[in-house]
């Protein structure tokens, strides 16, 4: 396909935007936990020369928490509003990103909780699942 040399590497290749960003996050029970909106890299800083021989940056966590406006128009909410998921919680990267069992609450946001408490619970049958 091309005559460019193949870069030397050990292990499997994963392209961040192609394989990780925008993928669904599922918790250990296969419930949606969010979408991978950004990734945090350690070991690299903006606007600083990188000395030769520096170790390559590593992926330390996934971020989730974009809202409708940012999903459609781009950009992102401030870092403080995004939920960070340590990469040690990642169980599998494939069509979806699956997470290991954890006590972490995947913040559905105040809207979900509010609707749940104020609206759904008062509708008959709101607490029961369909068969």
């Amino acid at each position: 396909m091309t005559e460019l040399p193949v870069i030397h590497h050990r292990g499997q290749l994963v392209d961040a935007r192609l394989h990780l960003l925008d993928r669904q996050l599922l918790d250990d029970e296969d419930s949606p936990a969010g979408i991978v909106d950004d990734l945090v890299l350690s070991g690299v800083e903006l606007d600083k020369d990188i000395p030769e021989g520096t170790e390559a940056p590593q992926l330390t966590s996934l971020l989730s928490g974009h809202v409708v406006a940012t999903r459609i128009f781009g950009g992102g909410p401030p870092r403080s509003r995004l939920q960070g998921i340590p990469r040690s919680l990642v169980d599998s990267i494939h069509v979806v990103v699956k997470l290991k069992p954890t006590d972490m609450v995947f913040d559905a946001g105040w809207m979900e909780r509010w609707l749940c408490d104020r609206v759904i619970k008062h509708i008959p049958g709101g607490r029961h699942a369909a068969e």
Binding site: P32, R71, V95, A108, E112, L115, C116, I120, G126, R127
Partner: protein, 273 residues
């Protein structure tokens, strides 16, 4: 639940039966189909506009979301691939034939009297004319089932699309308390849809516009599905074969043309006037 509405919807076959029961002049009917003559007052553009509308109604984008989400909810495996294919290969042509039957009925009975169809109840006039109350009963059950089924599909589909795009918990098997936003979206959709009936809005016009817009949106859902169907990371060994890809690419061109032509035609024909 969805299977029941599907089965009952099959009662629409009564329209096909009515075509025969009306004893039309077959030669005349066939001639009109194969050599259409456009009355002076109308233009070919109007007919192309309606062709696009029919197209949009046959393969609406929401079906992609509805079926794929249903497949996840019901934990389909590769064994279900055969059923899914059968569903498409038998179901869609059947739907097309029934549409032709309904159009034929209207042509035979309503057109000679220049009756313009302005409400759903008028479409069953040919069935009544075919002479039997039983036919009418079938037609009514079929129509109720078909519209009910469509309402279920579109409501669920709206919930699926929003929830999946935004990362909310979703699923009709999930307790509403655990997927609050998903269920609220569906409730709001149903209420808004029903509320529209109480306004002065002409339901036929609403149907026409939505169907044409779905034809415009069709390539946007079709293309990703075509690409995923060829991606071995998702499909494993079941990626598309060459023949399927060939048909799929031809169809892609057709729907692209339809999508691009829809708005100009809508403007030129004044939405089919």
């Amino acid at each position: 639940m969805e299977n029941v509405t599907g089965m009952l919807g099959l009662m629409l076959i009564v329209f096909a039966v009515s075509v025969f029961a009306l004893h039309p002049n077959w030669g005349d009917l066939v001639h009109q189909v194969t050599a259409p003559a456009i009355p002076d007052k109308e233009s070919a553009a109007t007919y192309w506009y309606f062709a696009i509308a029919l197209f949009g109604a046959a393969m609406t984008p929401y079906e992609g979301f509805f079926f794929s989400s249903g497949a996840v909810e019901e934990h389909w495996t590769t064994k279900d691939l055969g059923t899914a294919r059968l569903n498409v290969i038998v179901g869609f042509p059947l739907g097309g034939l029934l549409s032709i039957a309904i159009a034929a009925c209207a042509t035979i009975v309503l057109l000679p009297s220049q009756i313009d169809v302005t409400s759903l109840s008028q479409t069953v006039m040919p069935v009544v004319a075919a002479g039997r109350k039983l036919f009418l009963a079938f037609a009514i059950v079929g129509i109720v089932a078909a519209t009910f089924g469509a309402a279920l599909e579109t409501t669920l589909s709206g919930g699926y699309i929003l929830a999946q795009f935004l990362g909310w918990p979703w699923g009709k098997f999930r307790r509403p308390a655990e997927a609050a936003r998903f269920h609220v979206v569906m409730i709001v959709t149903i209420v808004a849809g029903a509320a529209m009936l109480y306004t002065d809005v002409d339901p036929i016009m609403v149907t026409e516009y939505s169907v044409v817009f779905s034809a415009i949106a069709l390539p946007l859902t079709y293309l990703p599905i075509l690409i995923v169907a060829n991606d071995s990371e998702y499909m494993g060994d079941h990626t598309n074969g060459r023949a399927t890809n060939m048909f799929a690419s031809v169809y892609l061109v057709i729907i692209l043309v339809a999508s691009v032509a829809a708005i100009p035609l809508m403007i030129v024909t004044g939405a089919g006037q």
